[in-house]
C-alpha cells in the first residue's frame, strides 16, 4: 500500500511545460509533467543532467513560472499567483537548497541563516540549524572562508532553519563526502520526520534513493518513472 496516498495532497502539477527561448533556438526543459506530492513524503528526484530536475523544482517552489500547465499548492494555483502571493508562499512555506548554494557573500554563516529566520514565524535558532549540519564551530565565517561543501551545508541549514512545510533541495550533498553527506541527510530526515515536511531531493546519487518514500525519475523533460520505495532505509545506513 502506498503510504503517500493516505496523506494530504500538497503539490499537484498537470501538464507542466517549460520552454527556454534563446533567439531562434528553443530548449524544451519540461515537456508535460504530471506529478502529485503529498505531505510528509520524502521524494527523491533522479535523472540525467539536463533532464529538467532543477527546472521542475524551481517551478514547484515558486521561483520560476512554467510556459504551460498548472501547479497547485494545496488549493492555491501557483501558476496563476502574482509575484506578491508567490513571495508570501515562499516566505511562509518553502525551504530551499539551491544547486549553487547562493549564499550572501557579505554575511557570515550565522547571518546567512538569520536572514531567513528573521522573517519566519517559528524558526530554529541559526546556531541550532548550523549545528544540525555539523557547522556549529564555523558560525562567524564568511562564505569565502568556507569550503564548497561547508557552503553547501550553510545553505541546507538556512533551508531547514525556518521549519518549512516544504523542503526543496537541489543536490544537497553534491559536494560532500559520504560521511558528511550522511550528517546532512540525517538533518533533512529529521525535519521530514519530526515536522512532516514534504521533502523533495534532487540527486545524481542513486544510493540516496534508498532513504526515499518515493523515487521519481525524469528524462528529457518527462516523468519516466514514479515508484514507492518498498524498503526505506534510514539515512545513517547509507554510504557511497
Amino acid at each position: 500500500m502506498d503510504i503517500a496516498e493516505q496523506h494530504e495532497l500538497v503539490f499537484r502539477a498537470r501538464g507542466l511545460t517549460k520552454i527556454y527561448r534563446m533567439g531562434e533556438v528553443e530548449v524544451k526543459a519540461l515537456r508535460g509533467i504530471d506529478l502529485d506530492l503529498h505531505a510528509g513524503e520524502l521524494v527523491v528526484l533522479l535523472g540525467p543532467s539536463g533532464s529538467g530536475k532543477s527546472t521542475l523544482l524551481n517551478i514547484l517552489g515558486g521561483l520560476d513560472t512554467p510556459t504551460a500547465g498548472d501547479v497547485y499548492y494545496l488549493d492555491h494555483n501557483l501558476t496563476a499567483a502574482g509575484d506578491r502571493d508567490l513571495t508570501l508562499f515562499r516566505r511562509d512555506h518553502v525551504g530551499f537548497v539551491f544547486q549553487f548554494y547562493n549564499l550572501i557573500p557579505s554575511l557570515t554563516a550565522r547571518e546567512n541563516v538569520a536572514v531567513v529566520t528573521e522573517i519566519s514565524t517559528a524558526p530554529m535558532r541559526p546556531e541550532e540549524a548550523l549545528a544540525l549540519v555539523g557547522l556549529g564551530e564555523r558560525l562567524d565565517h564568511f562564505p569565502a572562508q568556507l569550503s564548497g561543501g561547508e557552503q553547501q551545508r550553510v545553505a541546507i541549514a538556512r533551508a531547514i532553519a525556518k521549519n518549512p512545510a516544504v523542503l526543496l533541495c537541489d543536490e544537497p550533498t553534491g559536494a560532500l563526502d559520504s560521511q558528511t553527506g550522511v550528517v546532512v541527510l540525517e538533518a533533512l530526515e529529521k525535519v521530514n520526520r519530526d515536522l512532516g515536511t514534504l521533502t523533495v531531493l534532487i540527486t545524481h546519487n542513486a544510493g540516496i534513493a534508498a532513504m526515499a518514500d518515493r523515487v521519481v525519475r525524469l528524462s528529457d523533460g518527462h516523468v519516466v518513472e514514479s515508484r514507492a520505495n518498498a524498503t526505506k532505509l534510514p539515512a545513517h545506513a547509507l554510504s557511497w
Binding site: L63, R91, N112
Partner: protein, 793 residues
C-alpha cells in the same frame, strides 16, 4: 542568539565598508553638486541679509535728489510733502584729490555731515578713528576703500582741489556708508580704490568752500510706511525744479544700491544656474552610477526574493544603502560649501561690497533642498534598478544575466578583426553588446568634463570682454569730464597739450529712455561719428558710424530692457535744463558686453539740447610714456573734473574681479574634478565588478594581470577617449545656458571658449581615468581566483 542588528542591516554596513572606495567616489559626486549649491545660496543669503540689516540700522534714505543750489528754507517745503518721514539736506561736491606719492589722477566725492549730532540718514559706520569735530575746517572722514587703497590712517593728510584751490585736509576717521557700499567713480565701470574716494566733511566747512552757506545741493529722505514713492518724487521734482533739480530718484536707482542689487541679482543667478548645472549633472551621474551598482546586486535580490522577502523590504534595504551614501555626500558638500561660502563672501566684502560686518547665514532650507535633490536622484536610480532586478523570477535572477544575442560586431563585419588581438576584440564586443551602458558611461564622463569647462570658462570670457571693450570700442587712453558743459573749443587746448596725440569730444546728458511701458534711466552719449577712439561696434565687432538724428542702443538695452527695434520711435526725457521730452528714432544696435549705453551723434545731441558746439568731456589718445606728464597738466586745469585712464581701469578691473575669478575657478576646478573622478572611478569599479568573474577566469586560464587589465581598462580608455569630444559639446551647451542666464544690465558674457577651457575639460577626463586605472590595477592584483573555482559558471 546575540544579533542586535537585522542581518540585512549588517549586510548593508559590510557592503558599505567593502565598497568604501566607490561609496566615497559617489559621495564626492554628491559633494560637488551640493557644495556649489550651499556655497552660492549661503553667500547670496548672507549678503542679502547683511545688506538689509546694514540699510536698516544705518538708515539708508529712500529718495535722493541732486540740484544746483537751494536755500535751506526750501527744505521745509520738502519736509511738508505727504509721506516724507525724515529728510536731510546736505552739500556734495565732486573734487580732485591728491595723496602724497601717488601721481595718477584721483577723483572724489565730498559729502557734508551735520556739525551737530549724528546724521539723520545714511549714517556712517566708523571703522577707525573718530567723526569730524563740529565746525572744524579741515577734518575729513574717508571711505574705507580709499583708506585701504592708500593705506591712510587717522592723522594722515591729503589735499583736495576745491574750486581750483588746493586745500589740505586731515583724515580723522575711516568709515563705511550704506550709501557707498559699492563705490565707483562716475563714468567708470569698475571700483578703483586708489583713484576714487568718498570723503565726509563738516557741513559748515564744506558749505563755506562751495558757497553753500545756508543752502544745499543734495537732499535725501526716508518715507513713512505705505507712502507712494513716485508721488513723493513728483512733488520733490516740482519743488526743486526752480533750484536746478535733475530729478529725484528712488533707492532702487541710487547708484551704489543699484549696482549692489545688480551684483546680488547676478549672484542669485549664479546661485541658481551653477548649482542647477552642477547638482543636475551630479544627480544624473548619481542616478546612473547607483542604478548600475544596484544592478550588480541582481543575484542577491533574487536570493532575498526566493526566501520570501517582499519587494518593498528589498527596496528599503537598498534605499537605506544609498541614503547612507547620500547623507555622507550631502554632509561633506554642506561643510565644504559653507567653507567656500565664507571664502566667497569674504572675497565679495574685499572687492566690491563694503559692509561693516557680515552675517554669514546658512539656511536649513538650503541643506534640505540639497538633500532632497540628491536623495531623489539616488533613490529613483535605486528603485528603478531594484524593481528591474526584482521583476525577474528568482530562478532567473540567480542565473547570471544572459548576454544579448551573439552577433558580429561592426568591426568584425567590416573585416577588421584580423587586425585586432583577441583582447581587443573582447573590448569591442563589450562596448557594442551593451550600447546603452556604454553610452551612459560616455555621457557621464562627458558631463563631468563639461562641468570643468563651465567652471573655468569665465577667465577667457572676461579677457575677451575686456579686449572688445578697451581695444575695440573704448580705445582712448584717457577719458576726462569737465566740471560743467563747456565749449568745444576747449578741445583744441587739450589737443595742444604736450603728449596728447588725438582728442575727441563728447556730450553726455542724463535721460530717461522710454518705449511703451519700458523705461531706463541712462546717460545719453553724443560722440563723434567719425571718431577713432570711442566707437560703436556691430555684431561682428566692426566699428559703425553713429548716424545723425537718432540713437544707437546697446543690443541688451534695445532688445531686452526697452524691447525696441531699429526704426521704432523712442521717447527720451532729458533730465537737464528744461527737461524736455523728445521722440527719437532708434537707428542702430551696437554690440557691447559691459554695461549698456545709448549713443547719438554729438551734433545731433547738441541740436536737440538747442546748444552750439558743447562738450562735457573728451577722449584722449596719449603718447606712450608721457601719461604722467599729461595727468599733471590736466590736474592743474580747474575745469577738468575727473579722469579715467583706460590702462588703470583695466588693471583695477582685474584687481577687483581677479581675486573673485581665481577663487571661483579654484572652487569649480576642485568640485568638477571631484565629480569627474567620482564618475570615472565608479565606471571603472563597476566594470570590474561586472567583469570580475570573467577576468578571474581568464587569469586562471593563464592570462597575465597586464592582459586582463588591458581588457578592462582598454574599454574604459576607449569610452573616456570618446567622452572627450562629447564633453566639449556638453561644455559648450552648459556655457550656453550660463550665457543666457547671466545676461544682465551689468554685463553679457560672450560664448567664448578658449583652447585652455577645452584642455581643462579633457584633462579632468584623462587625469581621472589614469588615477582610476591605477586604483583598479591594484584591485586586479587582488582578484579572487579561488572564488571563481569554488562556484559555478
Amino acid at each position: 542568539m546575540k544579533l542586535s542588528l537585522h542581518p540585512l542591516d549588517l549586510k548593508l554596513l559590510r557592503d558599505l565598508w567593502h565598497m568604501r572606495g566607490q561609496v566615497l567616489a559617489i559621495a564626492a559626486v554628491i559633494m560637488g553638486g551640493v557644495a556649489t549649491l550651499v556655497m552660492s545660496l549661503s553667500t547670496y543669503d548672507s549678503l542679502t541679509t547683511t545688506r538689509d540689516r546694514f540699510y536698516a540700522e544705518y538708515r539708508l534714505a529712500e529718495v535722493f535728489a541732486v540740484l544746483k543750489r537751494a536755500p535751506e528754507s526750501a527744505a521745509e517745503r520738502l519736509r511738508a510733502v505727504p509721506g516724507v518721514d525724515r529728510l536731510e539736506t546736505r552739500v556734495r561736491a565732486g573734487v580732485k584729490l591728491e595723496v602724497q606719492g601717488f601721481s595718477d589722477p584721483i577723483t572724489g566725492m565730498l559729502l557734508s555731515v551735520p556739525d551737530s549730532g549724528l546724521s539723520l540718514l545714511n549714517e556712517l559706520h566708523m571703522k577707525r578713528g573718530r567723526r569730524v569735530e563740529p565746525y572744524s575746517s579741515d577734518e575729513v572722514v574717508v571711505s574705507d576703500t580709499f583708506a585701504e587703497g592708500h593705506r591712510l590712517e587717522p592723522g594722515d593728510r591729503i589735499a583736495a582741489i576745491i574750486n581750483g584751490k588746493r586745500k589740505a585736509l586731515t583724515v580723522v576717521g575711516v568709515a563705511v556708508s550704506p550709501e557707498y557700499v559699492y563705490q565707483i567713480a562716475p563714468g567708470s565701470m569698475f571700483p578703483d580704490f586708489k583713484r576714487y574716494g568718498v570723503l565726509w566733511m563738516g557741513r559748515n566747512a564744506l558749505g563755506a568752500a562751495y558757497d553753500m552757506e545756508g543752502a544745499f545741493n543734495s537732499v535725501t529722505a526716508t518715507l513713512e510706511r505705505g507712502a507712494h514713492v513716485q508721488e513723493v518724487i513728483d512733488r520733490f521734482d516740482g519743488i526743486l525744479a526752480n533750484y536746478g533739480g535733475t530729478g529725484a530718484y528712488p533707492r532702487k536707482d541710487q547708484f551704489s544700491n543699484r549696482f549692489l542689487s545688480e551684483e546680488l541679482k547676478q549672484l542669485q543667478t549664479m546661485a541658481t544656474v551653477f548649482p542647477a548645472i552642477f547638482l543636475g549633472v551630479a544627480a544624473f551621474l548619481l542616478n546612473v552610477v547607483i542604478s548600475r551598482l544596484i544592478a550588480l546586486q541582481r543575484e542577491q535580490i533574487a536570493i532575498l526574493k526566493a526566501f520570501g522577502y517582499a519587494h518593498q523590504a528589498i527596496a528599503a534595504h537598498f534605499v537605506k544603502f544609498v541614503m547612507v551614501v547620500v547623507v555622507i555626500g550631502v554632509a561633506a558638500g554642506t561643510a565644504l560649501g559653507a567653507w567656500f561660502g565664507r571664502g566667497l563672501s569674504d572675497v565679495y566684502m574685499e572687492t566690491t561690497f563694503r559692509f561693516p560686518y557680515l552675517d554669514y547665514l546658512l539656511n536649513a532650507g538650503v541643506v534640505l533642498m540639497a538633500l532632497a535633490v540628491s536623495a531623489l536622484a539616488a533613490v529613483s536610480g535605486t528603485l528603478v534598478a531594484v524593481f528591474r532586478a526584482a521583476r525577474l523570477t528568482p530562478a532567473e535572477g540567480m542565473r547570471p544575466e544572459t548576454p544579448t544575442l551573439y552577433r558580429a560586431t561592426i568591426i568584425e563585419r567590416l573585416g577588421l578583426q584580423r587586425w585586432l588581438t583577441a583582447p581587443s576584440r573582447m573590448i569591442a564586443r563589450h562596448i557594442e553588446r551593451r550600447p546603452v551602458k556604454s553610452l551612459l558611461t560616455i555621457l557621464g564622463i562627458a558631463c563631468a568634463s563639461g562641468l570643468m569647462m563651465v567652471g573655468n570658462y569665465q577667465k577667457g570670457a572676461i579677457d575677451f570682454m575686456v579686449d572688445v571693450q578697451f581695444r575695440h570700442a573704448a580705445r582712448e587712453d584717457l577719458a576726462l569730464t569737465f566740471i560743467e558743459p563747456t565749449s568745444g573749443k576747449a578741445l583744441h587746448e587739450l589737443a595742444a597739450l604736450p603728449g596728447v596725440v588725438h582728442v575727441e569730444g563728447f556730450r553726455d546728458v542724463p535721460a530717461i529712455l522710454r518705449f511703451q511701458n519700458h523705461s531706463h534711466r541712462a546717460a545719453l552719449y553724443g560722440i563723434q561719428p567719425d571718431g577713432s577712439l570711442h566707437r560703436s561696434l556691430d555684431r561682428t565687432l566692426q566699428p559703425i558710424a553713429v548716424p545723425a538724428g537718432g540713437v544707437v542702443l546697446t543690443d541688451h538695452l534695445a532688445s531686452k530692457m526697452l524691447q525696441v527695434r531699429p526704426g521704432d520711435m523712442l521717447s527720451v526725457e532729458i533730465l537737464e535744463g528744461r527737461r524736455r521730452t523728445v521722440e527719437l528714432p532708434v537707428l542702430g544696435i551696437t554690440q557691447q558686453y559691459l554695461g549698456v549705453s545709448a549713443y547719438m551723434q554729438k551734433e545731433s545731441l547738441n541740436e536737440l539740447l538747442r546748444e552750439g558746439n558743447v562738450v562735457t568731456g573728451a577722449y584722449l589718445a596719449v603718447e606712450p610714456g608721457r601719461e604722467a606728464e599729461v595727468y599733471a597738466d590736466l590736474h592743474e586745469r580747474p575745469r577738468v573734473l575727473g579722469m579715467v585712464a583706460n590702462a588703470t581701469a583695466i588693471r583695477s578691473f582685474y584687481a577687483t574681479i581677479g581675486e573673485f575669478v581665481l577663487f571661483y575657478n579654484l572652487v569649480a576646478t576642485v568640485l568638477a574634478g571631484a565629480i569627474g573622478f567620482g564618475v570615472v572611478y565608479n565606471s571603472a569599479r563597476i566594470a570590474l565588478s561586472e567583469g570580475g568573474r570573467e577576468l578571474a577566469s581568464l587569469r586562471v586560464l593563464g592570462f597575465t594581470r597586464g592582459e586582463i587589465a588591458y581588457i578592462l581598462l582598454g574599454e574604459l580608455a576607449v569610452l573616456a577617449l570618446v567622452a572627450i569630444p562629447v564633453g566639449m559639446l556638453v561644455g559648450i551647451g552648459l556655457v550656453g545656458i550660463l550665457v543666457v542666464a547671466f545676461e544682465s544690465e551689468l554685463y553679457r558674457l560672450p560664448l567664448i571658449l578658449t583652447a585652455e577651457n577645452y584642455a581643462m575639460g579633457a584633462t579632468v577626463i584623462v587625469v581621472s581615468a589614469l588615477l582610476s586605472g591605477g586604483l583598479v590595477w591594484r584591485q586586479l592584483g587582488r582578484l579572487d581566483l579561488i572564488g571563481v573555482l569554488k562556484t559555478r559558471e
